[in-house]
């Protein structure tokens, strides 16, 4: 029991267990007759907010409430983690990553890396050029790109690839092309702002 408690609650989950849990979550969706895809919620929220300007938002959003409940559950899951599992979570990134972050003037200390660079993602930084690019502009790209591509990491990379969908493979290749370009070639310039 002690081993199980340590494995499930105390230690961060190893990659293979995390991957299996994601598949289990996809299974639960399928079992209840749904498909796993988080980004649809963004469209549903636009529709509820009254997206009358485009017929893209004129659909029966009530049929999508179940997915909003999943998103609400995801929030509760995040809250449960912070309240009961780890109040001050840290991330075990590799020493090479810590070194390469220094090159773009993000300084973090091994063993004390939080979930994101606090100096960038904070309310005080929101109205600086850097803050607007990192928080607002990247959000717009994520929301626009995911709907254009018809899905995000859960809908294409997990659900789509599991179902051997070629469109999903193209989308996932796109995700990685975009991410590699951003992190390796554009981010160093944005950090100089």
């Amino acid at each position: 029991m002690n081993f199980l408690y340590n494995f499930l609650v105390v230690e961060p989950w190893p990659w293979w267990f995390s991957g299996l849990m994601i598949t289990f979550i996809m299974y639960l969706h399928l079992f209840f007759g749904k498909s796993f895809g988080m980004s649809s919620n963004l469209r549903t929220m636009c529709a509820i907010g009254g997206g009358r300007l485009s017929d893209f938002f004129k659909f029966d959003w009530r049929a999508q409430i179940w997915n909003l409940v999943v998103a609400g559950g995801a929030m509760i899951g995040g809250l449960i983690f912070i309240l009961f599992i780890d109040q001050n979570p840290t991330v075990n990134i590799s020493p090479e990553t810590i070194e390469s972050l220094k090159e773009i003037s993000i300084n973090v200390e091994a063993g004390n890396v939080s979930h994101f660079p606090n100096e960038i993602f904070n309310w005080g930084n929101l109205f600086t050029a850097q803050g607007i690019i990192f928080i607002v502009f990247s959000g717009i790209l994520v929301g626009f790109g995911t709907r254009y591509a018809g899905g995000c990491t859960s809908g294409h990379a997990i659900s789509g690839l599991s179902n051997l969908q070629i469109p999903s493979l193209i989308a996932v290749v796109g995700f990685f092309v975009g991410g590699l370009i951003m992190v390796n070639f554009i981010l160093p310039y944005i950090m100089q702002l």
């Binding site: 991957g19 209840f32 999943v70 790209l141 626009f144 254009y148 591509a149 018809g150 990491t153 995700f175």
Partner: protein, 140 residues
């Protein structure tokens, strides 16, 4: 609205939220590290999920597994084409590499108390809204 009907979806969401934190997949640094190819961690998570998911879905199709409603679980094919998937995918990837969060983790981070991601979520909604307006002018 039947509350009981929705409890199962809330539980699925809670499980997802905890998985995102415990796997560290909601971390901006993990996404950075993945695109820098400096660790196997994220590739391991996604790879395990994709391979085990493929095996599961193929078995479900072959064995005609039944779900909760006693009907056989079915799978929808994505619409064919490549332009929207490639262009949309690249735009999504640019945002993912910069913001470090894809749509699922946004909700988890907000629930975890990182309130600045409310702005990120509203921005993502704005992006989706812009797509809704521009959709007919884009190659699909």
């Amino acid at each position: 609205m039947k509350i009981a009907k929705f409890i199962k979806y809330a539980i699925i969401g809670i499980l997802f939220g905890i998985t995102m934190f415990k796997s560290e997949a909601i971390s901006w640094f993990r996404i950075y590290e993945m695109f820098k190819m400096q660790s196997f961690h994220m590739y391991g998570i996604i790879g395990t999920a994709v391979i085990s998911g493929m095996i599961m879905v193929q078995l479900m199709k072959k064995e005609k597994i039944k779900g909760f409603h006693q009907s056989i679980i079915t799978f929808k094919d994505k619409n064919s084409g490549w332009k929207r998937y490639l262009f949309g995918g690249i735009i999504f990837g640019l945002g993912w590499g910069m913001g470090g969060a894809c749509p699922g983790p946004i909700f988890v981070l907000i629930g975890g108390g990182y309130s600045i991601f409310i702005v990120f979520m509203l921005s993502a909604m704005l992006g989706t809204f812009i797509y809704g307006l521009a959709r007919k002018k884009l190659p699909h």
